[in-house]
């Protein structure tokens, strides 16, 4: 046993054969089961590590911020680096998207996919406030749904890109999409408006229609909306013969839209976003399920009803369907 001057003081706990420490509480004594010495060294090593860490890294809370540490590391700095790296990594794709014309983009699935993903991110930042996170719009405010197959101003990639760039009824661009529907509240009697509403509803197969309404429509409305109510995208005149209504399909809503039309405004983005981002946004909106193929030789975009469309960006309209 350890030879040591104090051996005489050593006391052994009988049942366990273990040395007693000498601490006693109410007759209960503590046994000495010593730690291995390396354990102690490990403890000292962690202290040394902590000291080094405190010097190298931000540690002590001060009045306005923590001490910076010799390395000057910060999580914000990390983030900046990562963002810069990500930006750097995206540059090549950005440039490719910017340099690819829309026809070619549509035929390059991989690049298109990159554009869609980039557009989705930009959409969530710039567009969801009106069009909603799912791009489904808000009927009560006349923010168009971008998922359906109905477009006010056209649903091809180039149509959408144009709308995004120049906006709708937006003061910031001389080439903005700009038309207004006259307010007929001062022109028509209530009964005439009611007849018009009945006729408009009948265009999409709702209700019996109205002969007088049809006559009024042909005279006053068909120039923009078409005789059959198919609308005219060149003027942003909504189709009235389909199931989709920008401001509601009940009679009151339609009558209200005839009397004093609401006109949606969408800002153009050419002053805030770079052309590549706008192009990616167009790709994303186009991908929501209603995008239309480019129609090279199509002169009038109006009543060609392709099956899909979605109002891309904004706008509004008069009563509408479409």
């Amino acid at each position: 046993m350890p030879e040591n001057a104090n051996n005489a003081n050593k006391r052994i706990d009988e049942p366990t054969g273990t040395e007693l420490v000498g601490h006693e509480w109410d007759g209960i004594e503590e046994l000495n089961t010593p730690l291995p010495r390396w354990w102690l060294w490990t403890f000292y090593a962690t202290i040394a590590w902590a000291l080094v860490y405190v010097i190298l890294y931000p540690a002590w809370p001060m009045v306005s911020q923590a001490t910076e540490g010799v390395f000057g590391w910060s999580s914000r700095g990390d983030l900046q680096t990562e963002l810069a790296d990500a930006q750097q990594a995206r540059t090549a794709i950005f440039e490719r998207i910017g340099a690819t014309d829309l026809d070619a983009l549509a035929n390059d699935p991989e690049l298109l996919n990159q554009a869609i993903v980039g557009g989705e991110a930009a959409f969530k930042q710039h567009c969801v406030q009106c069009h909603g996170a799912g791009a489904a719009g808000y009927e009560e405010y006349g923010y168009p749904n971008l998922n359906d197959d109905d477009w006010l101003w056209g649903g091809t990639l180039s149509d959408i890109e144009y709308t995004l760039t120049h906006g709708v009824r937006w003061e910031g661009s001389g080439e903005t999409r700009l038309t207004y529907m006259p307010a007929f509240g001062e022109i028509f009697q209530k009964s005439e408006i009611d007849a018009l509403v009945a006729h408009v509803l009948s265009l999409s197969g709702e209700g019996p229609g109205s002969a007088s309404g049809a006559a009024l429509f042909e005279t006053n409305c068909s120039a923009c909306h078409g005789v059959d109510g198919a609308g005219d995208r060149a003027q942003g005149a909504p189709a009235l013969n389909d199931a989709i209504w920008l401001y509601g399909k009940d009679k009151a809503s339609i009558a209200q839209q005839i009397r004093a039309p609401r006109h949606g405004v969408m800002p153009g983005w050419s002053d805030k976003l770079d052309p590549v981002t706008i192009r990616m946004l167009a790709a994303y909106v186009h991908s929501r399920g209603g995008g239309e193929a480019e129609a090279p030789e199509l002169p009038a975009e109006d009543e060609t009803e392709t099956a899909d469309e979605v109002a891309t960006t904004q706008t509004s309209g008069d009563d509408e369907r479409g």
Binding site: M1, P2, N4, A5, N6, N7, N9, K10, G17, T18, E19, V21, G22, N32, T33, P34, L35, P36, R37, W38, W39, L40, P109, G132, A133, G134, A135, A136, N145, N147, D148, D149, D150, S204, A239, D242, A243, I244, S287, G289, A293, E305, A307, D308, E309, R321, G322
Partner: protein, 518 residues
């Protein structure tokens, strides 16, 4: 007998200085402790920290040592060699027999390929490992600790390196105490160098499980491998070097939770390595026993059991946390008993119940009889049932899978013609190592319902679509489904059929949302 006496003399000398289980401390510690003490009175003789006593275990041969060699050979061979086994899976999958492909989230094991969504197979294996642990511990105590634990295996390897460089027990004890000179320095450096090589090889073998082994090796030496590969090798080299080369039994005694867990699973019917004190006590040398046979038991106190112990304990003190039940003390004791003409088994695998019965005079029972008891059968039954279930699931699983998540924003879309469109994200999983076409069909929607995808376009809308899926990939497609104006729909399913000779099918139920549903 004289041989035994001569054997044990030097050892005894060495071990007499060893104080098993008692507190040891250095004089300086006491001095420091005393100087820190503020209360009056004599400083108590307490050492709160224990000096490490190096374990220099003696070479031994015997059935258990040979079994240990065998286990070491098998486990190390498996560990080092497995990643290098090639396994042809065709051009679309890796040709490494065992590969944990984290980047692509695949786990390959010979003919089995596990995808992340089949991780329950791995969970099942872990459950089997857990129950297997109960089974083995119940039956043969801490056999894992004694033979198969990596800490045990690598400690054993390093102890043999010690033996190779420095000789057997006595020579190593002597060398430890010898002053540092050229010879000792050279031996130590050589030994540690070999430790380091083995450790590096061990760390290097680990990363081979996670990438194509030949490619990774090539890249590793050219400095082109991923940072994580170098970091992993560095960490595992260090831990192997440190834990296997230096910490050794300290890991078992102080760090590892396993002995505590396993200790709790033992009972009086479990086989353990035990000293039969009823037969061994009172200890005395052969000479003393010859003079006075009735006063002494079979144990001649030769300390061979202590000398061979890889954790440096004295098994005669009974069950203890430091005992990894490797059985080397049985080999050592049996050898001594044979030499002095006494029956073997003074230290042996036995259950506490058997020991008690034997002590009370019952005839010795063969150790294996301890295995025949209900608890062991039940554990084995559960373990085997889970294994059979896993094998069955593995054998009958489909390699074609579809899951569907409906778009929630917006949940439905009214189209110009009054028809309603829903969008769904389909995940088509082709778990074969070859590209396959899959036919996806709408089941349970009204007549005239059609679907299309971004790639197919609305022009190609139809009730079913053929979608090519690359080998061993999940293809995610957005599917648009339209039901005609005026029809109703609700629950329906996407059914997928692989367009190959096997024609595997799968289907996923989902719901079609109409404007009125919300």
């Amino acid at each position: 007998m004289s041989e035994v006496d001569s054997l044990d003399t030097p050892e005894k000398g060495a071990d007499a200085k060893r104080d098993w289980g008692a507190a040891l401390g250095s004089v300086e510690t006491d001095a420091i402790a005393a100087s820190r003490r503020t209360s009056p009175g004599p400083p108590p003789p307490i050492k709160l920290y224990q000096e490490r006593k190096a374990v220099h275990n003696k070479r031994i041969d015997g059935p258990f040592r040979r079994f240990k060699w065998l286990v070491m050979l098998v486990t190390l061979t498996i560990y080092y060699a497995t990643p290098w086994i090639r396994w042809d899976r065709g051009p679309y999958a890796p040709d490494q027999a065992v590969l944990i492909d984290l980047a692509n989230r695949r786990f390959y094991m010979f003919d089995i390929e596990i995808w992340p969504h089949e991780f329950y197979f791995v969970a099942g294996l872990l459950i089997m490992a857990g129950i297997g642990l109960f089974l083995v511990t119940t039956a043969v105590g801490r056999a894992w600790c004694g033979y198969a634990c990596p800490q045990t295996v690598w400690t054993d390897v390093f102890q043999h390196v010690d033996r190779f460089f420095d000789g057997d027990r006595n020579a190593r004890i002597k060398l430890d105490k010898a002053p540092w000179g050229a010879s000792k320095t050279a031996r130590r450096l050589g030994k540690w160098g070999v430790y380091l090589l083995i450790s590096f090889w061990t760390g290097g073998a680990w990363i081979m499980y996670f990438a194509d082994a030949p490619t990774l090796t090539y890249e590793f030496w050219r400095g082109e491998a991923a940072m994580v590969a170098y970091a992993t090798v560095a960490i595992l080299t260090f831990t192997t070097f440190w834990l296997g080369g230096f910490m050794r039994e300290q890991v078992c005694i102080y760090m590892c939770p396993w002995p505590r867990i396993q200790g709790a699973m033992l009972d009086e019917k479990s086989l353990i390595v035990t000293y039969k004190d009823w037969r061994g006590e009172k200890r005395g040398s052969v000479k003393k026993a010859a003079k006075n046979p009735d006063a002494y038991g079979d144990c001649v106190d030769c300390l061979q059991c202590v000398a061979v112990c890889p954790t440096g304990i004295d098994i005669r003190e009974g069950q203890q946390i430091g005992c990894i039940t490797c059985g080397l003390c049985i080999d050592a004791c049996d050898k001594v008993m044979k030499d002095i003409g006494r029956p073997r088994g003074l230290i042996d695998y036995a259950t506490l119940d058997q020991c008690e019965a034997e002590a009370a005079g019952a005839p010795a029972t063969p150790a294996w009889k301890a295995l025949l008891r209900p608890r062991i059968f039940i554990y084995f039954g559960v373990w085997a049932a889970i294994g059979a279930g896993l094998l069955f699931a593995l054998g009958t699983r489909s390699h074609t899978d579809i899951t569907v998540s409906p778009d929630r924003n917006p949940p439905f879309m009214l189209m110009k013609d009054g028809s309603v469109r829903n969008s769904f994200t389909l995940r088509l999983r082709n778990m074969e190592a070859r590209p396959r076409d899959m036919r996806v069909t709408l089941v349970g929607l009204p007549e005239g319902s059609v679907m299309w995808t971004d790639q197919i376009g609305r022009e190609g809308a139809a009730e079913s679509q053929t979608i090519p899926v690359n080998a061993d990939e999940t293809r995610i497609v957005r599917a648009y489904v339209v039901i005609p104006n005026g029809t109703e729909a609700g629950e329906f399913a996407f059914e997928v059929t692989a367009l190959d000779s096997q024609g595997e099918k799968d289907s996923a139920d989902t719901k079609f949302t109409l404007p009125g549903d919300l």
